[in-house]
Amino acid sequence: MPEATFLDTTELVLNMGPQHPSTHGVLRVVLKLDGEKVLGTDCVIGYLHRGVEKVAENRSWVQFNPYVDRLDYVAAVSNGLAYCLAVEKLLNVEAPPRAQAVRVILTELNRIGSHLLWLGTHALDIGAITPVFYCFREREESIKILEKYCGARLTTHAFRIGGLPAEPYDGFARDVIAFCDMFLPKVDEYEELLTNNRIWIGRLRNVGVLTAEECKQYGVTGPILRSAGVQWDIRKAMPYSGYDKYEFEIPTRTNGDTYDRYIVRIQEMRQSARILRQAAESLPEGPVMAKVSKVVKPPVGEAYVSIEAPKGELGFYVVSDGSAQPYRVRVRPPSFINLQALDRMVRGALIADVVAVIGTLDIVLGEVDR
């Protein structure tokens, strides 16, 4: 009697991206599948590589400033802040208190905008259509303040080395407080739609789990690290730009799954609004620019400065040879390093979870590829 024959169990290799709506840009993930189960992944990145680090070496310190906005283009203000702080560290200057407070306001507004864009598109990936309209509605309000302040909506070039390009417009603080009043009830609205939604919980809970130990192993920072129970935020751990003057909490969760990362980011938006209100109500008077010469020539030296960007630790390692051009600018991008953990998070999961995990990583390919 012949032995029973079974169907072939061959591995299937599937290309997801670079043109795929759920990869949030030009990310290509090569998936090795056994049926619907993911056996392994390989990320192919670099489609958006523009060589900004090379560009930096051929521009002056001042000229390179607008380029950094094109890294994480949904949180351009954070990039500008990190770069300016790094060059200021080399120059040994500090922005005046008024400039620092305005920087905090714009950065937190941008953090809310970035989280809202994440929430809307993540929910859309999972299959919830409504949140994206809600989120873009409020994000528009945050962008309007940026636009009134500096004329640009996304690639803002909001800061200069040493301070701000201009005094904030009349009624700036009033607009920010009005935004906070408007925004906080809206966060409750998002939560009403999603937090106890059975489908939402079913798609997110226990998906893409990353423990605190694994986060540290992979250098994963930001909301992903905090969702695994590590209460670490550079705004608290190594305060910059006067963050130590404001009261806020670092939201954490313990499971480290996709659902917890959602909760952490929702709560971070509330904390950002809290910082916004304090900063706007206590906006100090004074100059907005420190004494920095027109041609920025930092002394020979090097520095690494990082900030808590919406996606995690965003750092700039800058080396000066004493000339007006950077000798080396290295960007430590949170998206690039967080994306590395994708393989760990989806191995053994189902293919539908890959979409949820890419969403929850909150990557921006402009920053991954640079």
Binding site: I45, G46, H49, G51, E53, K54, V55, E57, N58, K89, L90, N92, K216, Q217, Y218, G219, V220, V230, W232, A237, M238, P299, V300, G301, E302, A303, Y304, S306, E313, G315, Y317, V319, G322, Y327, R328, R330, R332, F336, I337, Q340, D369, R370
Partner: protein, 198 residues
């Protein structure tokens, strides 16, 4: 007009050097570091001796300069004995005029101590520094990027491929001898169907 004689002083040589007058407050040409004192550098120097050639502070940031064959053992020691459990970044800087052409920079952070340090090491062109992947998993992509951009190959890396540029690209763009507008013309013609990218 350097070849014309000086009209006010016809007897002066045409190419007379300007009087040597150094500006009084010229910034130093080397990094103005101060020694880094503390328990950590002292312990490390006891443990690793000559492998650590410098422990300094610049702009209130501490860094060690170490011999490149000792980097991984120092990082391992820092991880297990001093709680530096988060490898923030690995990057490189090209100094083409030096005999040891590249600087490799490892940035480490300790959650427990809330402290960040840098480890710098000079690497000659042809040498293969040891990979840090066995100590910190995050080194995988970071070292691939350093390899892609500088052409430094890491010994013992599990998967050393280019990461941002195409795999069959020629050249390593962040080297100083790679001009801004240079590109792999052959690759561009074969893959993009255009004569040149600029």
């Amino acid at each position: 007009m350097p070849d014309q004689p000086n009209p006010t002083h016809p007897e002066a040589p045409a190419a007379a050097p300007p009087p040597a007058k150094a500006p009084p407050s010229k910034p130093p040409a080397i990094m103005a570091t101060t020694p880094w004192d503390g328990d950590l550098p002292r312990q490390l120097k006891e443990q690793f001796g000559d492998s650590i050639s410098e422990a300094s502070t610049y702009a209130s940031q501490n860094f060690l300069v170490v011999k490149f064959d000792a980097v991984i053992s120092i990082i391992k020691h820092l991880k297990h004995e001093a709680n530096f459990d988060y490898l923030v970044d690995i990057t490189a800087v090209d100094w083409p005029k030096r005999t040891q052409r590249f600087d490799l920079i490892y940035i480490l952070y300790s959650f427990a101590r809330n402290e960040r340090i840098r480890i710098k090491t000079a690497v000659p062109v042809a040498s293969r520094p040891e990979s840090a992947v066995s100590v910190h998993a995050t080194a995988n992509w970071l070292e691939r990027e350093v390899f892609d951009m500088f052409g430094i190959e890491f010994e013992g890396h599990p998967d050393l491929r280019r990461i941002l540029l195409p795999e069959d690209w020629n050249g390593h763009p962040l080297r100083k001898d790679y001009p801004l507008l240079q590109q792999d013309q052959g690759w561009v013609q074969a893959n993009l169907g255009i004569e040149r990218g600029q």
